[in-house]
C-alpha cells in the first residue's frame, strides 16, 4: 500500500504476516485435497490467491506479478463465486452462502487492484464503494464468529456445500473460521486505509 513506507513499525507487516499464514494454510489444504474433488477447494484456492495478493499490497517488497494478472484472477473469481452463490440459493433457498462472501471478497480485491493500478480515474475512496464493501466484510466476519460459537440465531451456515469426502485432519473448523476472519479484517483495513 502507498502508506506502507510511512506507517509505524509492524502494523502492515503484522497484517501481511497474518494473511500469508492464511495463504500457507490454504495451500496445505489445496495440496492435501488434490485429486479428491473435495467441495470447498475453490474457497481454499481463493484464500491462497487473496493471501498472496494482499501481502503484496500491504508490503511492497512482497508484491509480484503484473496488476492486470491479479485483476483477471479476481475477476474470474468474482464470476465463479457469484455463480456458486446463485446455485446455492436455488438449491437451498434463502440463506447466506459462503460463496457469496467470497464473491464480495473477490470484488474488494478487484477494486483495490483496479484503483491502485491507475486504471480508475480516482482512488478507492473516491469510488464510494470502500465503505460498504468494508462494512459487509466485517458483517461476514462477525457472522462467522457468531456461527462458530452457536450465537448465530438465524438460518444458514457459512458453508453451504455438503462434503463429498471426509474432511482431512488439517480441516479444523477453528482454523477455517479464523482464516475467514483474518482475511475479512485485513481487507477491511486495506479498503478503509486506501487513498
Amino acid at each position: 500500500m502507498s502508506g506502507a513506507a510511512t506507517t509505524p513499525a509492524g502494523l502492515y507487516y503484522l497484517v501481511a504476516g497474518l494473511v500469508l499464514a492464511v495463504a500457507a494454510y490454504s495451500a496445505l489444504l489445496v495440496v492435501v485435497s488434490l485429486g479428491r474433488r473435495r467441495p470447498g477447494l475453490d474457497v481454499e484456492v481463493s484464500h491462497l490467491a487473496m493471501g498472496l495478493a494482499m501481502a503484496g499490497m500491504l508490503v511492497g517488497a512482497l508484491a509480484f506479478g503484473p496488476a492486470v494478472a491479479w485483476e483477471l484472477v479476481f475477476g474470474a473469481s468474482l464470476l465463479w463465486f457469484l455463480g456458486r452463490a446463485w446455485a446455492s440459493l436455488r438449491r437451498f433457498g434463502i440463506h447466506l452462502p459462503h460463496s457469496a462472501v467470497h464473491a464480495l471478497m473477490s470484488l474488494a480485491m478487484l477494486l483495490m487492484f483496479f484503483t491502485a493500478s491507475g486504471s480508475a480515474t480516482r482512488g478507492l475512496r473516491g469510488s464510494g464503494l470502500s465503505l460498504p464493501l468494508a462494512f459487509l466484510l466485517l458483517v461476514s466476519a462477525v457472522s462467522t464468529l457468531a456461527a462458530a460459537n452457536r450465537g448465530w440465531p438465524v438460518y444458514g451456515s457459512h458453508r453451504d456445500t455438503p462434503a463429498a469426502a471426509p474432511p482431512s485432519a488439517l480441516e479444523r473448523p477453528l482454523l477455517l473460521d479464523a482464516s475467514h476472519v483474518v482475511m475479512a479484517l485485513a481487507m477491511s483495513l486495506a479498503l478503509l486505509s486506501a487513498p
Binding site: 502508506g3 510511512t6 506507517t7 509505524p8 513499525a9 509492524g10 502494523l11 502492515y12 438449491r91 437451498f92 433457498g93 440463506h95 480516482r122 475512496r125 473516491g126 469510488s127 464510494g128 470502500s130 465503505l131 468494508a134 462494512f135 466485517l138 458483517v139 466476519a141 462477525v142 457472522s143 464468529l145 457468531a146 456461527a147 462458530a148 460459537n149 452457536r150 450465537g151 448465530w152 440465531p153 438465524v154 438460518y155 444458514g156 451456515s157 457459512h158 458453508r159 453451504d160 456445500t161 455438503p162 462434503a163 473448523p173 479484517l185 477491511s188 483495513l189 478503509l192 486505509s193
Partner: protein, 326 residues
C-alpha cells in the same frame, strides 16, 4: 460450523434448529450489529495516521477536544493527548485492542456480558478524553454533529441489549429493562436531543455550517456535492432545521407512549431523520475522508430506533431460554 448433510444449511446444529422453531432472536441480531460497529471502529482506529504523533496524528485530534471545556476537563484531555503523543504506537495499539476485544466478546455468548460492561466503560472514557464530553459543556453539542457524543449511543445500546431471556415483544429494548423503564430511557434520550438541538450555539447557522465544512477535505466528489447542498441549506435555513429537529425529537420521544402505530411512525421517523443527517451532515462519519475513528451517531441512532420497533406477540418471539453454548 459444519453442515448437516441430510438437511442442508437450515439446521446445521442444534442451536440453529432451536432458533428455527422459536424464530430469530432479534436481541441477539442487534448485539451482533453492535459488534460489527465496534469492529468497524477498531479497523478505523488501526488506520496508519492514528499511529502517528504530532500535527495530523491522533494526539492532535484528542487535544482539539479540550478547547472550550472547563479547566479541569481541558487539563485532563490535554494530559491524555500528551500521553498519546509521547507513545503513539503503544497507545493506539491499546485502543485498537480494546475495541477488538469488545467486538469479539460480543460475538460469543459466554463473553457477552463482560464485553457489554467493557463497552460501557470504554464509551465513557472515550466520551471524556476523545470527544471532550461531546461539546456539551461548550454549548456546541448539536445532534446534527453527533451530540451529545456519538460514543454515548454505544453505551446506551449496550444497556438496552443486556442479555435476558424472554420475548422480543413488545419491542426488543424492553427485554433488558422492562417496558416502563425502556420507554423512560427512550423519552429521556430524545428529550436530551431536543434540548441540544435548540439550545446554545447549536441553532446558529455559522456553527451548523461548520459541522459540514469540518469534514470536507479528502472526501469523494459525490459527497462533496452533497456537502455543498447541505452547507447552503444550513446557512439559509439553519435555525428552522434545528427547531424542526427539536420538535421531531419531542414527538419521537413521546411516540412510545401513544400506542403501536405512533411508535412505528416515531421510530421510523427517527431512523430516517438520522440516516439523512448521517449522509448530509455527518458525511458518513468522515470515514471516506480518512482520519475518522467511528461512523458518528447516525448508524447508532438507527440501531436504537430499531430496538423500539413494536413487535406483535405472534411475531415468532416466543419465550426463549438463553442458548447455552458448548
Amino acid at each position: 460450523m459444519e453442515l448437516d448433510r441430510a438437511t442442508g444449511p437450515r439446521a446445521a446444529c442444534t442451536g440453529v434448529a432451536l432458533a428455527a422453531e422459536l424464530g430469530p432472536d432479534l436481541q441477539r441480531l442487534a448485539q451482533l450489529a453492535l459488534a460489527t460497529l465496534w469492529l468497524l471502529d477498531a479497523v478505523l482506529q488501526a488506520e496508519p495516521s492514528m499511529f502517528t504523533g504530532g500535527a495530523g496524528g491522533f494526539s492532535s485530534m484528542l487535544a482539539a477536544g479540550a478547547a472550550g471545556n472547563p479547566t479541569p476537563v481541558a487539563w485532563s484531555i490535554s494530559w491524555a493527548a500528551g500521553v498519546v503523543a509521547h507513545w503513539p504506537v503503544l497507545s493506539n495499539s491499546a485502543f485498537v485492542l480494546v475495541q477488538l476485544v469488545i467486538a469479539l466478546g460480543l460475538t460469543r455468548r459466554r463473553t457477552l456480558r463482560p464485553a457489554l460492561l467493557l463497552s460501557v466503560a470504554w464509551s465513557l472514557v472515550v466520551w471524556w478524553f476523545g470527544e471532550g464530553l461531546g461539546g456539551v459543556l461548550v454549548g456546541a453539542a448539536s445532534p446534527l454533529g453527533g451530540g451529545p457524543g456519538s460514543v454515548l449511543f454505544y453505551a446506551l445500546a449496550a444497556v438496552l441489549l443486556w442479555p435476558c431471556p424472554g420475548a422480543d415483544a413488545p419491542f426488543v429494548a424492553a427485554r433488558a429493562l422492562g417496558v416502563r423503564a425502556a420507554r423512560g430511557v427512550w423519552l429521556g434520550t430524545w428529550l436530551v436531543l431536543a434540548v441540544l438541538s435548540a439550545a446554545g450555539a447549536a441553532r446558529y447557522p455559522g456553527l451548523l455550517r461548520g459541522l459540514v465544512q469540518g469534514v470536507e477535505p479528502g472526501e469523494p466528489g459525490w459527497l462533496l456535492a452533497i456537502d455543498h447542498l447541505s452547507t447552503a441549506v444550513l446557512q439559509q435555513e439553519g435555525t428552522w432545521v434545528t427547531v424542526g429537529l427539536a420538535l421531531l425529537c419531542l414527538l419521537v420521544g413521546a411516540s412510545v407512549y401513544a400506542g403501536p402505530l405512533p411508535t412505528k411512525l416515531g421510530t421510523a421517523a427517527a431512523a430516517l431523520a438520522f440516516l439523512i443527517i448521517w449522509v448530509f451532515v455527518q458525511d458518513l462519519g468522515g470515514i471516506l475522508a480518512g482520519g475518522a475513528t467511528d461512523p458518528n451517531s447516525g448508524p447508532l441512532v438507527v440501531l436504537l430506533a430499531l430496538l423500539y420497533w413494536p413487535l406483535r406477540e405472534t411475531d415468532g418471539a416466543r419465550h426463549r431460554a438463553p442458548v447455552v453454548p458448548g
